[in-house]
Symmetry: C2
Subunit: 313 residues, 2 copies
């Protein structure tokens, strides 16, 4: 696989997508999807989350999915963990990376997690401490996801100062990556430039990722804006799987297939082979029960004479 | 209506949209659509095209539509004209502006117009001469649309030098506006920045517009890229009407409703009231026979606490 990537793509459809739909994927089908997408060159997949199975039955087999995913050569296997208990399971599972979501909006944190943002930061500190106290987990990367950083369905606007405060706190605690998330699809390109300029300046050598939902059609415009100020890591979902229960017809995460097309067309190497990626998409779609999928390139095809960034070099 | 616009939007659904679908709109329904959209604050509408009715029966009533549109207070009424004959009809109709498309791709020009680019430029010169020779038309604005500027389905890539040569020629002839068109949805944000930087530098005080199709999902990303280098004029289509016969599920032009949302969210004043625009969309959709429409904001609604640029000022 190509190691000279300009942009690092993390597939989150196997977590953010699957947790939002009705269809139950079997463990075997999840693993085949992951295998095909890794084969296409996607370097990292968030394969599941360690949450109580009662809350998200789709994620009940995450430990098995991690185990199977670790067999896929060269793939970085990451999982979402919402608290210390999840992080302990995540570390024990052998996952390479834990993604810990923090709600930046006070109202959202109270409503969803029943705790203030400061308490969620304390939880994150416990996760970092758990790794420190268990040297066998020293190699596990711990990322923080700053959720609702672009706005919140309860409080509306989220002050930039709150986003930067949370970023500063996870940096001080020793985070390995910061993902800034437009959880509800409120973000716009101007806002992206502002937020990411500030976060990148604070983060120094710590990688910063963008996580966008296409709820209001601005997903790829937001990616381009973030790219322009220097972001080189993005979350996305194959076929835009996920949608939004409150917005019929609205896509979920940025569509991985369209994202790869856009980046490669712009001359940025992703290491992903678009044809193979569309084969992975086909496999995924075959196992969905009438769940909507999204994306333009799957219908339109690439432009005549299109060259991937790799070939153009 | 607000005259302090930061960005000028031209609705082209009544031309580019209607000419691409099966549904026939009556003259009365076209005029009601135009009236409602102008009422929402859209400053310019391309209400039709002066082409042979045999080729495009949908456009056979363009003279009447122009006549009716001229009654709408404050609206700039523009029409597409493909040649001198169309331009003569356009000037006689009383339209405020003629949009003359030129194919920048030699292969596309030969295939569609059966003439080389240089002959199309000669046609454009004749249109300019006709205005000069008829002082009663001195006030009519003449715009050139550089079609296939981002690529062509026949030849693939279109050299930047060809785009700039055509731009230079229409500028020398006295064009009043240049629209740079991604006719087949091949463009990407990096390409936008390159092309528009060059054209804006050549154009000086002559307004430059971007015309994007969302065929590969990059329409709004391309708008943002063009905005960033200084473009302040865009074509778009209400509900993305138009589609592409070769790309099932692919949107036509950039969706006017989503474009207005993006711009206003970024703090750029369009002068357009989004609620009223969605009422115009509703009217349009009611009169379509199962034609697909597109757009995210119509489903998702605006973010909580969303303020238009006008109010935020």
């Amino acid at each position: 696989m190509n190691t000279n990537r300009d942009v690092w793509i993390r597939e989150v459809g196997t977590r953010d997508g699957l947790q939002s739909i009705q269809t139950q994927f079997s463990t075997a089908n999840k693993l085949e999807w992951i295998r095909l997408e890794a084969l296409a060159g996607v370097p990292e997949i968030e394969v599941g989350s360690f949450v109580p199975p009662k809350l998200l039955p789709q994620m009940a087999d995450t430990a098995e999915v991690v185990e199977g995913s670790l067999m896929v050569k060269g793939l970085r296997v990451s999982v979402l963990v919402p608290n210390l208990r999840g992080a302990q399971s995540g570390m024990a599972s052998g996952a390479h990376q834990l993604n810990f979501p923090l709600s930046v909006s006070e109202a959202h944190s109270q409503a969803n997690l029943r705790k203030p943002v400061s308490a969620a930061i304390d939880d994150f500190a416990r996760v970092i401490a758990h790794r420190r106290e268990n040297p066998e987990y020293a190699h596990v990367r711990i990322a923080a996801g700053l959720a609702t950083a672009f706005g919140c369905t309860i409080s509306g606007q989220v002050p930039l100062a709150d986003v930067l405060r949370a970023a500063g706190q996870v940096i001080a605690l020793g985070v390995d990556e910061i993902a800034v998330a437009d959880t509800v699809g409120y973000g716009n390109p101007a806002q992206c430039r502002t937020i990411f300029r500030e976060i990148l300046a604070m983060a120094g050598d710590i990688p910063v990722a963008g996580h966008f939902h296409d709820t209001r059609g601005l997903g790829l415009a937001n990616v381009d804006a973030a790219l322009e100020v220097g972001v080189r890591r993005f979350d996305s979902s194959l076929g835009g799987l996920g949608g939004c229960p409150y917005a019929p017809g609205a896509s979920g995460n940025v569509v991985t297939d369209d994202l790869v097309f856009m980046l490669e067309a712009m001359g940025l190497r992703t290491g992903v082979n678009l044809d193979r990626l569309l084969e992975a998409r086909e496999f995924m779609v075959r196992h969905l029960n009438d769940e909507p999928t999204f994306g333009a390139i799957v219908n339109a095809g690439v432009p005549k004479g299109f060259e991937t960034a790799e070939h153009a070099v």
